[in-house]
Amino acid sequence: MRINHLLFFLSLITLITLASCTKEIEKNYIIIGSTIDIDSFNPYLSTSLFTQDLLDRVYLRLATEQEDYKTFTPLLAKRWEWSKDSTQITFYLRNDVYWTDGVKTTAYDVEFSFKVATSPEVAWLNAEDIIRNIEFVKALNETTLIVKYRYVYPYQLTDINDVWIIPRHIYEKVPFSEWRRNGYFDEKPVTNGPYKVARWERGQVIELIKNENYFDKNYPKIPRIFVKIVPNESNLLLQFLNGEIDVLPSIPPAVAEKYENNPNVKFIKYPFLAYEYIGWNQRNQIFADKRVRQALSYGINVDEIIKVILRGNAVRATSPFPSIFWAHNEKLKPYPYNPEKAKKLLSEAGWKDSDGDGILDKIINNKKVDFKFTLITNAENLTRKEVATAIQNDLLKLGIKMEIQVFEFNTFMRHILNRNFDAVLSGWRVATKPDLATLFHSEAIKTGHNIVSYSNPYFDKLNDSAAVLNNLSQAKILWDKVQEIIYDDQPYTFLYEPVRINGISKRIDLKTVRMNSISFLYNLHEWELK
């Protein structure tokens, strides 16, 4: 028995020593929390937006996209000139930018990067527009670069600026065909941005430190950035509230509301270039009728969904261009919640409850069909599941029976792309180059992302002319019309544009922080500690 007591006390002492023994690091750093790890330091292999957010802190682009999503300010390129016919841009690069291994960043690196971006062997995810629109990229000397386009269109700068600029002397060591099967680039990358990568321990931590050779000696202000990876959201949240993590992206509205008065943290909210929608698959006869789709939009109480489920952290969506985007048609007002009007439209379309079972029905092809369908959505998004239930209740009041089916993400996407669904609740992130062809053009019905099989020749024509108009204010007039067509046809019921909520510690000087739809780390190098 005495031995047992001794053992007990011994272990107690060990525990206390363990618990009290820590060594602090100098507090000149911040820690960003993340549930996911990055997938590669090679920007051409990465598929995750979070990775690209981080890579943008270590690699320089030619220019910086501004928060209006259409203008650019110089970065690696000091200035640029357009040719007379606008099919060619000459970039003049900075002379004082060096890769972290001491080699100078030159126009030849950009030329090589373009070769990478368009290579079929690399199979970069965003290659398609670049291949279609840019004819060639040529370095005249170390600092002069020519970009030749196939034709004139409004987003010429956006496209060339999408090309990640990587060091040729490092990346040409491995043949393109072996890139996807070679971990070489996942070692410490050679970069040229304000930060450089000090280490990457998979699933644990990424450490960025100040690049002493960065061309602008005033930046970055915070010399050390850690990204701490904790897959469990509850654990991550506790660490954020406890001050162990300084930045926590994408916080659910209910959580932010609960901890709003926490003295150590602040929640930054900003609109996001994205929207949530319900797509009505027109291959299903029920949804082929425009009046039915309009009725459904009238019959869903979106304001209530925003108020109750999202705690007011969303803006009602009216069109496929979010309200903060320049191409958005601000004259369109959201469909008001109006069950009476919905019922009227439904009965106009022939939907009546003839057998008195509470569910609308209609004779289609000599067969009585009930107004019943299944809405699918993905399991990972808890908000969507709640929204789906709210919609289910709203529609039941109209006499429409909706089932909900939830799939794991990959399976969900497979259902969507095979057009194997009745209705889908999902969301799109919006590209800063307005083009609705991928979603609604009749040519995208078979293979593209026109998942609802929407077809309107008038829309096709207008969209095609708007997308290539070089004068953006003229294009805006056409885009407004395009959105009116979509608004009237309601291939989707546009629900809401989510507001992004990020948590940030009050250790950081909030006046220096800018977060936006381009990235939540948009100006990380300018952030300062208090």
């Binding site: 047992n4 062997e121 995810l125 654990n235 996407m413």
Partner: protein, 321 residues
Amino acid sequence: MGFILKRLINSIFLSFGIAIVVFLLLRILPSVSFSDIYLNPRLSEEMIRRIKSAYGLDEPISIQFLNWLKEIITGNLGFSFIYRKPVINCIMESLSSTLTIGIPALVFSFGVGILIGIQSARNRGKLIDRITTSSLLVLYSIPSFWLGIILILLFSYTFRLFPPSGLHSFNFNELNFFEKIFDLLRHIFLPALTLGTPPMAAIARFTRNTMLKVLSQTYIKTAIAKGLDQKTIFYRHILPNALLPVITLFGLYLPIFFAGSIVIEEIFSIPGIGKSTVDSILQRDYPLTVGITLFVSFIVILGNLISDILYSIFDPRIRLK
């Protein structure tokens, strides 16, 4: 010796068979390598085809299967899409993290479990025994995701005694040897406790029962009647006989400690086998999923083999044939 060899060879074939089934099942499921490619509405079929071809997913299944067999024979177990290195390297890296938690948890659950079981049996029927037995039942039934979060809430959030996640501090490399050990132990404490507690409770209850069974045997009564002192009876006659069945549990629990726990590795952010399993499934990294399955089934079979061998060593009545 011949027996062990035979069993080993058998187990290799068995895990191989399991891996083939998993391989085929995965290919029948929707076969796209990266989930995110679909998030981009601008991506064409052509691009998807190119990416598939870069990973060899455009070949017919039979060819893919042959390629995979080749990788097995070379010992790579295939090539991971997401980590871009041989699957065997991925498994070895994850295994080291898993073992860092698993071995202390194993020692804890068997050490503490057996001790508690013995004490409980010795005090059979007393209040202390009843309290222990019922608390063990509670501990045994607690789901680990809940236990983990509660421990974090208590030890990390409220009292700030132990770090809530990871295997070591960010400044680990700047520490000296002793500080490193301390740092590691501090990080191991909570996950190992979470991982080890349910098995500990099971082992304690099991030990208590086998102890009681032995106590009622006639040879113990004989020993007492002979007038042997308590210590000799306990260490010579009771303990060895009572602990023999506990060995079976060792084989049973080996996979829990060595094959990684999906839940605990997720909560405490440990880049081990369990975390790799989830990542590989979600990101459709087939070679890694199949490789890990191969490895885990091998561990399970190995666990059984080890407990058989231990049994034959400790119990002379049993001989392996």
